[in-house]
């Protein structure tokens, strides 16, 4: 008998081997793309916080420019004119209030000299963005406190710290006490409107109206006091001024209280730069945005995204699990159930904007409108729930992701062996007890898988949210210290929309492009973190309820 491999075997082995290579190659390609995307976003995003050196460019025509080199473009030789490659530099010169443009392009051949002066000062301001220049004077009114770059720099530090503390106090005052009083005044206004609609005797009405008027007056008086104090505090921010000189010699006075941060990049050690880097990351993650989202932090967007995904999970998991339980455990398996199952799967393929429109029509107008008429008639015509808000956005996304949870839960339920159910029933447990105590715990990892997929999908969804409550800038978080603490009717910010808004709706595109990468990186991190948390929970459950190998 011939046991050697025949032609057919050999041919099939050759095909098999090349197929293996093809599959491996496809996987490698996918991995490479993922690594490339994450790497690119990571590099550009993390680079945003790094402080480079500030260059002073002297041009051939005698102009001087001070700023950070932020990009370079190569140009091929122009036939008949130049033979060599030329290029141009992009310089971030800031000073938008003086020059109008924050960025300039300079051709290589225009540049006469580039130097990095030690005393170049970079100011991050509350308004108008960066300022690059040299410090000339520090003055209070007409009194000169310090003169000359070094003296000013020494005197500036302590003064600035004091101003920052004061600015924070003002913010606390605005958000805290003044916010509280405004809240109270609004409450009283609504109470007044409610009174007008109530059926009361004239005496009683007059009495109550007087009480409300009295209290309103009191609050308004309190408000006036605080407002005056606020005004004074604000004035004091502008008391001292830093007189700056641009590279061109133009002078500009900047209130010390307006300055977020002042650094001398060319005089910084590596350690200083690292410290500055961390400080900026912290500011980015924890602070509110400024200058129509192009500066400052993105904390409200992070918070909005996480809270929305959280509320969505709370809504989608019970809904999906109950639906899957009915489909798998109670419904009689037949044509109808199969049809429903196919329909549910297809629901996952409906474009998300369609869900957005549905959410607007159903949740916002119908449900929200009804809630307003029933429970908040006093605030009308200002809508409370009858307008987009985080609750409606979360529910819209819950509808969008419910098929994922249903499918995953059904799979989890199907994986629970029949023997396990029969073991429970044979002990005298009812079907409900069996499902609750044996089947559901055993299917919990599957359910969590569904939740993870739903969360990942929801966190990245932007289109439907734009019409059900997501905004460019929300003045308040949906969570604060005013009763009932969670304000689900409020509009919210979202990282995905922030990326779109900052990257494509901003007039100052050059300045915000790095911000897009930083925000995208953060969005990826937030989604990853949430998923990792859910995966840890799932693995713990898996160990606990490890499905038996029968």
């Amino acid at each position: 008998m011939n046991l050697g491999r025949d032609d057919r075997t050999r041919r099939s082995e050759r095909v098999g081997e090349s197929l293996t290579w093809l599959c491996g190659g496809a996987l490698a390609f996918n991995l490479l793309m993922i690594v490339a995307v994450i790497g690119f976003i990571g590099y550009r995003g993390l680079d945003y916080f790094w402080q480079g050196r500030v260059a002073l460019c002297r041009l051939e025509d005698g102009r001087r420019l001070l700023g950070e080199i932020s990009g370079r473009e190569e140009r091929p030789p122009t036939p008949g004119k130049t033979l060599e490659m030329t290029g141009r530099l992009q310089l971030r010169v800031g000073n938008r209030d003086v020059t109008g443009a924050g960025f300039v392009w300079i051709d290589d051949d225009q540049i006469a000299e580039i130097s990095y002066p030690e005393d170049a000062l970079l100011l991050e301001r509350l308004e108008w963005g960066h300022f690059y220049g040299r410090a000339v004077e520090l003055r209070r009114g007409d009194e000169v406190l310090a003169r000359g770059p070094d003296e000013v720099w020494r005197a500036f530090g302590p003064l600035h710290e004091e101003k920052v503390a004061r600015r924070e106090a003002i913010e606390r005052l605005e958000r805290g006490e003044i916010g509280d009083i405004n809240f109270e005044i609004e409450r009283l206004r609504l109470a007044g409107k409610r009174l007008a609609r109530r059926d009361l005797s004239p005496d009683e009405r007059a009495l109550q109206e007087a009480a409300i008027a009295h209290e309103t007056k009191e609050r308004e008086a309190q408000y006036q006091v605080l407002a005056d104090r606020l005004f004074e505090e604000r004035e004091s921010l502008a008391e001292e001024q830093l007189v700056m000189e641009t590279a061109d010699g133009e002078r500009n006075a900047i209130a010390v209280g307006e300055i977020v941060r002042a650094v001398r990049p060319n005089a910084m050690s590596l350690l200083d730069r690292a410290g500055l880097y961390l400080g900026r990351v912290r500011e980015f993650v924890w602070d509110d945005p400024r200058e129509s989202n192009t500066e400052g932090g993105i904390f409200p967007a992070i918070f909005g995204t996480v809270l929305m995904v959280f509320i969505m999970s709370i809504a989608v998991v019970p809904l999906g699990v109950l639906a899957a339980l009915y489909l798998r455990e109670y419904a009689k398996q037949g044509v109808l159930v199969r049809t429903v199952r196919i329909a549910v799967n297809n629901l996952a393929g409906v474009p998300s904007i369609v869900f957005g429109v549905f959410g607007l029509g159903f949740f916002v107008y119908l449900v929200g409108g009804s809630i307003d008429r029933l429970f908040y008639p006093d605030a009308l015509p200002t809508p409370t729930y009858g307008t987009g808000g985080i609750l409606w956005a979360s529910l819209t996304l819950a509808l969008l992701t419910v098929p994922v949870v249903i499918v995953a839960t059904e799979e989890g339920l199907a994986a629970v062996p029949r023997g396990t159910r029969e073991g429970s029933l044979a002990l005298g447990a009812t079907k409900f007890e069996t499902i609750r105590r044996v089947v559901l715990p055993a299917a919990a990892p599957g359910i969590l898988t569904g939740m993870i997929l739903a969360m990942a999908r929801a966190a990245g969804e932007v289109a439907p949210l734009m019409i059900v409550g997501m905004v460019k800038l929300a003045p308040t978080l949906p969570l604060d210290h005013h009763f009932p603490f969670v304000h689900l009717e409020r509009k919210f910010m979202h990282l995905g929309f922030h990326i779109y808004d900052v990257g494509f709706q901003s007039p100052n595109v050059e300045a915000t492009t790095p911000l897009v990468f930083a925000t995208a990186l953060l969005l990826v991190l937030v989604v990853t973190l949430m998923n990792v948390a859910a995966i840890v929970v799932r693995n713990r459950l898996r160990r606990k309820y490890a499905s038996s190998a029968i």
């Binding site: 009689k332 062996p417 023997g419 396990t420 029969e422 073991g423 429970s424 029933l425 044979a426 002990l427 005298g428 447990a429 009812t430 007890e433 105590r437 044996v438 715990p441 055993a442 160990r543 606990k544 309820y545 490890a546 499905s547 038996s548 190998a549 029968i550």
Partner: protein, 282 residues
């Protein structure tokens, strides 16, 4: 004793004679202390009939074994005792089973209380994906016992009853799925014992176990028989002859012969029985 080997080929009577066989031919022993009385029980899955007109009495506190080739209806019959067949759609049942004189097939019977009194151990061990403790405590928890002290006692009694206590007493909180196959099956027995049933149904309890684990379970059955009525389904004839007091031979959904185990294995009265136990077919 010499067993006479008949020259008849099995195929000759399998097809033709089986349908002609009446249950009235079946050989039955006298049972005085009957716990179950099966009365002309027939069972259909959709159109196919799985059990044909079975009548027999099952004695209390004895081990009754059902033997027969695969697909002969032994498991179906066993699952009639605790009405586990209710879970399957489109089944039809005729005749009656009386348990302590009362019908258990009656629709008014409270199935959950019935199943509490008639426990079951399955072919594949099916511990819940929970800790060893929770597995045994489960039955009592659903029947409303909540006090930790009571549960502790029940768990210990159940595990001791299933001769598992000494092996697992130090790791009650570990997952039941970490136990060996034989231990898992004894855990299932402990679980069945925990709700203090009167009867334990065993559906091929040793078919997935090695000889050592099988021996342990058989030993345990002898112990359990003192307090419980045991009904076991097995296709291992040696096992039936070793452990049971009475044996019933089912073939094609019919009861062929039912007798004291010794009698059935030494002097089978029916030819089919003899052929089966001598290994001619099956």
């Amino acid at each position: 004793m010499e067993i006479k080997i008949s020259p008849v080929n099995e195929g000759e009577w399998m097809e033709s004679d089986v349908s002609a066989m009446g249950t009235d031919d079946a050989v039955r022993p006298e049972i005085k202390d009957a716990l179950f009385q099966i009365d002309s029980l027939s069972f259909w899955y959709r159109e196919s009939q799985a059990l044909h007109d079975i009548s027999m009495d099952i004695p209390s506190r004895q081990i009754t074994a059902y033997i027969g080739p695969s697909g002969c209806g032994k498991s179906t019959l066993l699952r009639c005792f605790n009405r586990l067949n209710d879970l399957i759609d489109e089944v039809r049942i005729e005749g009656d089973i009386r348990f302590e004189g009362a019908s258990i097939l009656d629709p008014s019977v409270e199935v959950n209380s019935l199943r509490k009194r008639i426990g079951m151990v399955f072919q594949k061990s099916n511990p819940f994906p929970k800790s060893i403790y929770e597995n045994v405590a489960y039955g009592c928890r659903i029947h409303g016992i909540r006090r930790k002290r009571d549960l502790d006692e029940i768990v210990e009694r159940g595990l001791r009853g299933a001769a598992l206590w000494d092996e697992v007493k130090d790791r009650l909180d570990e997952s039941a799925l970490g136990l060996s196959g034989g231990q898992q099956q004894r855990l299932c027995i402990a679980r069945a014992l925990s709700v203090e049933p009167d009867v334990i149904l065993l559906d091929e309890p040793c078919s997935a176990l090695d000889p050592v684990a099988t021996a342990k379970i058989e030993e345990l059955m002898q112990e359990l028989k003192k307090r419980y009525t045991l009904i076991i389904v097995t296709h291992n004839m040696q096992q039936a002859s070793r452990v049971s007091d009475f044996t019933a031979f089912l073939y094609h959904g019919r009861l062929i012969e039912y007798a004291e185990t010794k009698t059935l294995f030494i002097r089978p009265r029916k030819k089919q029985t003899e052929d089966y136990i001598t290994g001619r077919f099956g």
